[in-house]
């Protein structure tokens, strides 16, 4: 097994926070992109996973195995030099992978997260700063319009501008029946997944110059929803849809809008109520690649959608589903 693959697996397998958060050898990632190829089936952990559950929103640091967000592996090459990004849900999951990658590609990064996610967020802020970039942590609950406006304001001030908005934070709760979903539950999901992006994009727009990008995290659930994700899945369909209408609206302004649609990815959302315990234990077994994806495997998609080199892509959804689902 190649050294880097083994190192990735050891990073994931290690339970200790310090050992896994910092890359081996003093938190310096390798200096050259890896290149080559590996069998994707063997790169990362396969099910079964230990039964586990955390209260929402959950911490990546408490998952077993720990997810890989690219801490030890992502190597940048200046693709986002001079850029300024705001990422919601930037403490863990795909948001974290994007934050690390953006910083290593030369961008300054503001991350939003819930206050209880501070332990994960601290690690991300640390990684951004070790990449030599400005990190702006802005904790707070996105379910409030005033907070979303304040979030953008703080990000613009902390970064000295803004040209990448990644609307990624999500609330996902599995319920076998629509009858089990309370008004509060439904509201929580809608506010987090649909209202917050609306408020944030509105607040950000006056600051976005031509060449700026907006990225929304949607999901394979937008195309083929699971029976136990009635509320969550429709918000992902809504996200996929707003990406396309907003792309049409903002094309004349030179602002690109795209989405990322993951399949099953190993993130705290899944172990904190987003999936049944049975699904957690067999997570990713339905995918032809035989395992769930890791956030690190999507970092490059966010970079691609943000970078200037991808200038004709707008109104599009890029997927990473391990062989299952759409797009």
């Amino acid at each position: 097994m190649e050294e880097t693959t083994r190192r990735q697996l050891m990073t994931i397998a290690t339970a200790g926070v310090a050992a896994s958060v910092a890359a081996p050898a003093g938190a310096q990632p390798q200096q050259q992109p890896l290149g080559g190829k590996q069998n994707p089936r063997d790169k990362y952990p396969k099910p079964p996973f230990p039964p586990q559950s955390q209260p929402f929103p959950g911490l990546a640091g408490q998952m077993s195995p720990r997810p890989d967000h690219g801490e030890a592996s992502y190597v940048g090459s200046g693709r986002l030099r001079g850029r300024k990004a705001l990422i919601t849900g930037g403490d863990s999951g795909m948001g974290r992978a994007a934050a690390i990658a953006f910083a290593r590609e030369g961008a300054d990064v503001a991350i939003n997260y819930l206050p209880v996610e501070e332990p994960d967020a601290r690690e991300v802020v640390d990684l951004i700063r070790r990449a030599g970039r400005t990190a702006v942590p802005i904790p707070g609950d996105l379910r409030s319009a005033p907070f979303c406006r304040s979030l953008v304001d703080q990000a613009v001030r902390g970064l000295g501008g803004l040209d990448i908005v990644v609307s990624n934070a999500g609330r996902q709760k599995s319920n076998a029946s629509i009858l089990d979903i309370s008004d509060e539950d439904f509201d929580w999901t809608m506010k987090t997944n649909i209202y917050a992006p609306f408020w944030i994009i509105k607040a950000a727009l006056p600051h976005l110059q031509p060449g700026s990008v907006i990225i929304g995290t949607t999901s394979e659930q937008a195309y083929d929803p699971a029976s136990d994700l009635y509320d969550y899945a429709q918000t992902k369909a809504a996200t996929m849809n707003y990406v396309k209408s907003l792309a049409k609206q903002l094309g004349p302004k030179g602002i690109r809008v795209n989405g990322v649609a993951p399949g099953p990815i190993w993130t705290p959302l899944q172990v904190s109520g987003g999936a049944t315990e049975g699904k957690v234990v067999t997570f990713g077994a339905t995918a032809p690649l035989g395992r769930p994806g890791q956030p690190a495997e999507l970092a490059g998609i966010y970079v691609r959608l943000a970078e200037d080199d991808g200038s004709y892509t707008t109104g599009n959804i890029y997927g990473a589903g391990g062989g299952q689902g759409q797009p």
Partner: protein
């Protein structure tokens, strides 16, 4: 509704092997490669579905059944691997087939008591199907190693089918 889902699943399983789950007709003889694919996909589905059941089922006898599925299908999977290698074939593929993926996906979205009903129904159907595959190859299969493996799997799968039927109300 578990009913509709499992009915569709039965149809899918039938289409997959070209055989009705009731086992009324013998299947056309499978090639060695197709047998290995079908048997290994079945084993993998049984193991994954049982892992979900271990955690989701609130019924002690269903959980005990699930544990036995993991044990037994891990063994049949190993036996199949050994037999394929002994016959100079590549190792069996690692995953489930489309039907298994769909069935597992259904189970991953269910909670007790709907979970138990759906799981047990799936298990009756999947073992009926597996029995036909194993019996068919044991009788007509071209490769002697695989024929022997199929023959020893038959009583195991029959026993599972009997157990699954007893779990149904």
């Amino acid at each position: 509704m578990p009913n509709a889902q499992v009915f569709v699943a039965a149809g899918l399983l039938a289409v997959m092997t070209g055989v009705q789950p009731s086992g009324a007709q013998p299947p056309a003889p499978m090639s060695a490669r197709d047998f290995v694919k079908a048997a290994s996909a079945s084993d993998q589905y049984e193991i994954q579905a049982a892992r979900v059941a271990e955690v989701e089922s609130r019924d002690g006898s269903v959980r005990a059944f699930a544990r036995k599925m993991i044990q037994d299908h891990t063994r049949t999977r190993q036996a199949l691997q050994q037999a394929s290698l002994a016959s100079g074939m590549p190792p069996p593929p690692d995953g489930m087939n489309d039907d298994g993926q769909k069935l597992l996906s259904q189970l991953q979205s269910l909670r007790a008591p709907d979970f138990d009903r759906a799981y047990v129904r799936q298990q009756v159907l999947s073992h009926q199907e597996a029995l036909v595959v194993e019996q068919g190859y044991a009788a007509d299969g071209s490769d002697p190693n695989l024929r022997r493996t199929a023959a020893s799997a038959v009583p195991i799968v029959q026993h599972h089918l009997d157990m699954a039927r007893r779990l149904q109300p």
